[in-house]
């Protein structure tokens, strides 16, 4: 940061100018230099830190609902792996929210995130444009996906979960696994990342609830069909809404295929401090932020997760109503 360097130099110059030959600070001399005397008592915890993260690219995937953002975050890009997530905060009064990383580009120092506008925080994110900054981006967090070369993996994605699944699927493809993608949405216009997935998966199966594209029905129907015919599948990965992940786990259970789900519980810090994200896995309490966010889908207590996700439903409504009122100037 050239600007930062300037400040440092100025501080150093001041220090030297204010210091007499015996190394003591000279108050009279210091008084002659503007800006050297600083009064205490001004709360400014963030002053001076160029923390915000710039949005380099924004693509609307479902107008007003879902967008893809490419962020300038070299540190996170360098270390981020499939399965990792970041914590974001949009404004100084904003709430921290977790989002799974949908892609990383270490060379260009960027990460990609995809979100569904669900409450105030994601609405604030959607209101940002290219060139704007996301105030806080922290990561990469969580354990990355466990990826080993073992044969065929089926990656199932639903809703915005398709974007996060895409990152995991890419990791499997790079490892040399045969990747079958299965994606679903209510209708064709709500389907995300079809082209991105097609660029590297071996096969892509598509379903829509209304039959406007691909198979008419649920992703689990395509999945069951595939598992019945294809015995080389060693793992199924599912990312999406809780009911979808629960349904995928029930579909694979009779086949005895390892099933990994990426969970999205409420988080506050995202660094193992608060336990808001605790989930029951195999009867044991786990923290999704430091033990996950991926777990064995056959062991996860999905009904509990669903109810814990709804814990703040009333406050979320107050928050978004308040935002919409003020955002429209009423």
């Amino acid at each position: 940061m050239p600007q930062q360097k300037g400040v440092e130099e100025l501080q150093t110059v001041r220090h030297i100018l204010c210091t007499n030959l015996s190394g003591q600070f000279d108050r009279k001399q210091a008084a002659l230099i503007p800006g050297t005397f600083v009064r205490a008592g001004v709360p400014s915890l963030r002053k001076g830190e160029p923390m915000p993260t710039r949005i380099l690219h924004k693509e609307s995937l479902i107008p007003g609902k879902t967008s893809k953002l490419v962020l300038d975050a070299p540190e996170i890009a360098r270390k981020g792996k499939p399965g990792h997530f970041v914590m974001l905060r949009m404004t100084p009064t904003g709430e921290r929210i977790p989002l799974t990383i949908a892609d990383t580009d270490a060379e260009n120092g960027t990460i990609t995130i995809v979100y569904l506008v669900m409450g105030k925080s994601t609405a604030l994110l959607e209101a940002l444009s290219v060139g704007d900054n996301v105030l806080d981006v922290c990561g990469p967090l969580g354990h990355p996906t466990h990826i080993e070369k073992k044969g065929t993996v089926i990656c199932v994605g639903g809703g915005t979960g398709i974007a996060a699944m895409h990152h995991i699927a890419k990791g499997h493809a790079r490892m040399g696994n045969k990747v079958v993608g299965v994606i679903g949405a209510r209708s064709k216009d709500l389907l995300l990342f079809e082209n991105e997935l097609k660029s590297f998966v071996n096969e892509l199966l598509i379903s829509t609830d209304d039959g406007s594209y691909g198979h008419k029905g649920l992703v689990t129907e395509l999945l069951r069909d595939r598992l019945e015919k294809d015995k080389s599948v060693f793992e199924v990965v599912a990312v999406g809404p809780v009911p979808m992940m629960a349904a995928v786990a029930e579909t694979t259970r009779p086949f005895g295929v390892r099933t990994t789900v990426s969970l999205n519980p409420i988080m506050v810090d995202g660094i193992g401090m608060c336990g808001a994200c605790r989930v029951s896995v195999g009867g044991k309490t786990k923290f999704a932020c430091v033990d996950g966010p991926e777990f064995d889908g056959h062991e996860v207590d999905f009904p509990e997760l669903r109810r814990r996700l709804a814990a703040y439903r009333e406050q979320e409504k107050v928050s978004i109503d308040d935002y919409q009122r003020t955002a429209h100037g009423n």
Partner: protein, 472 residues
């Protein structure tokens, strides 16, 4: 040990003015209002100026207490401040949150008469009164400004009391410091943990501003072990200090603990303090609304959670504890403040299970009545269940304040770091150095959950060792 005995009767301790309990239980403003100058001088004059000041030996950072009180007694608050600052980087914080009754004031000779000198209140007054005019003064307490050494760099991971102290010691010696903080605000537990009514946030901000102006750079959103790693920092810095705090909250291990409405104290307090949930919806982070709140545990964090719940509008708040008031580990002042504000205590009660409705929302907790039996290894009388005495306490918000275990993020990413049998970082007692040369650690990640001042003591020790090594 020989000590001076008071010959003439000593005046009673000067009380500190507080917001009235019925007023303050509805706001987040600071409870204790602090001494006036006259009160401070009167209280300072109670000090006997012992030849061998025992109070100093009770202080983890060895503040020259007798000397600063002597200056305060003469009204020389600036001189008093410089004396405190010679060993304590955060006096305004310590004056507010230290358990003085177990430390300096616990050793005060006047305690035998029941009323030790109010050292904490004096420290607070002196720190609040003094307004530093330069960054050097803010960090070192003296006009002497160290020549900045651009060639020497130290990294501190975490920005809580231990890291800030280590950074302050290094900066005072002219060493450049980079502090890496995982959250979006610096201060660690001083920001996310301790509520504003006990430690106003601008007190912390002032201390941090001073450090910043003295050449400490704060890098927010930087998670030690993820965004930045110890090994990498060692390539760019001459030494690394790890002060990441404890972390993973402990739960009770009883059925129903994942019901909606059961929280760790860390979560509840972080939402309210860091997230400013008391100002929802102006601030976006909500806190779970509870009418009948139960808090489990009896330390300072439990008191903070209980008093926070009152201010968030709870109709009743119970602290549930399996022993009695006498065994409570909380700072006495916090306990008294909690009682005054209307926190109720369910003593000699241990939770058996949490009960919920069909939407998995918490409705009550089942408690087992206890009695005190024979003393255990810690010397405290062991609570024993009274058979058959089980009852339900209705509650819709339960806060578990039982302490924390070590946070695995940095430890997992740094396998070379030797851990002790409890999973905390093992350090050399004398220097604070870990099993990796030039990597130091202190605070809760070494000792497990402890106090602000103990963490500061560890940060100071490591900082002094770093300065010694780098500057000779």
């Amino acid at each position: 040990m020989e000590t001076k005995t008071p010959k003439k009767p000593v005046a009673p301790r000067v009380d500190m003015p507080c917001q009235p309990a019925e007023v303050r239980r509805a706001n987040f403003d600071e409870v204790a209002l602090g001494y006036t100058r006259e009160m401070a001088i009167e209280e300072a004059q109670r000090c006997l100026q012992c030849k061998k000041p025992l109070c100093v030996s009770g202080c983890p950072v060895e503040v020259p207490i007798r000397d600063f009180i002597r200056e305060a007694a003469h009204g020389n608050m600036d001189a008093a401040y410089r004396i405190i600052k010679s060993t304590n980087s955060l006096p305004a914080v310590c004056g507010r949150v230290c358990p003085q009754e177990h430390q300096c004031e616990g050793k005060c000779v006047l305690r035998a008469k029941g009323q030790p000198v109010a050292i904490g209140r004096l420290e607070r007054f002196v720190a609040d009164t003094y307004i530093a005019t330069t960054a050097c003064e803010q960090v070192t307490g003296t006009d002497a400004c160290a020549l900045p050494r651009g060639d020497l760099k130290v990294a501190c991971i975490g920005s809580g009391p231990s890291s800030l102290t280590c950074a302050g010691v290094c900066a005072a010696a002219g060493i450049k410091v980079d502090v890496y903080e995982a959250l979006h605000e610096a201060g660690g537990v001083l920001i996310y943990g301790i509520p504003a009514f006990r430690l106003p946030k601008n007190v912390v901000a002032t201390e941090i501003d001073g450090l910043r102006l003295a050449g400490v750079d704060f890098h927010l959103n930087s998670v030690g072990g993820r965004t930045v790693e110890v090994e990498e920092l060692l390539e760019t810095h001459h030494a690394v200090f790890i002060g990441v705090g404890a972390g993973l909250p402990m739960f009770l291990g009883v059925p129903g603990e994942n019901l909606v409405g059961v929280f760790s104290a860390n979560e509840y307090l972080t939402r309210v303090n860091l997230g400013r949930a008391y100002d929802f919806p102006n601030q976006d982070t909500p806190a779970f609304p509870g009418k009948n709140v139960t808090v489990f545990g009896a330390g300072n964090v439990a008191m903070d959670a209980a008093r926070t719940a009152l201010r968030m509008g709870a109709e009743s708040v119970h602290i549930v504890y399996r022993r009695t008031r006498a065994e409570m580990p909380a700072r006495l002042e916090e306990l008294e403040h909690a009682e005054e504000e209307g926190v109720q205590f369910a003593m000699l009660s241990a939770p058996l299970r949490f009960n919920g409705d069909n939407e998995m929302r918490l409705t009550s907790v089942t408690l087992q009545k206890m009695e005190l039996g024979e003393p255990d290894a810690s010397g405290r009388r062991r609570p024993v269940a009274i058979e058959g005495e089980v009852f339900d306490l209705p509650t819709d918000l339960a806060v578990v304040a039982l302490g924390t275990r070590s946070n695995p993020i940095l430890l997992d990413a740094t396998p070379k770091l030797k851990q002790n049998k409890w999973g905390y970082i093992e350090v050399n007692e004398e220097t604070g150095e870990t099993s990796i040369p030039n990597v130091f650690a202190g605070g809760d990640i070494v000792t497990g959950a402890a106090t602000v001042i103990l963490a500061m003591g560890a940060g100071r020790k490591a900082g002094q060792e770093i300065v010694k090594r780098l500057l000779g």
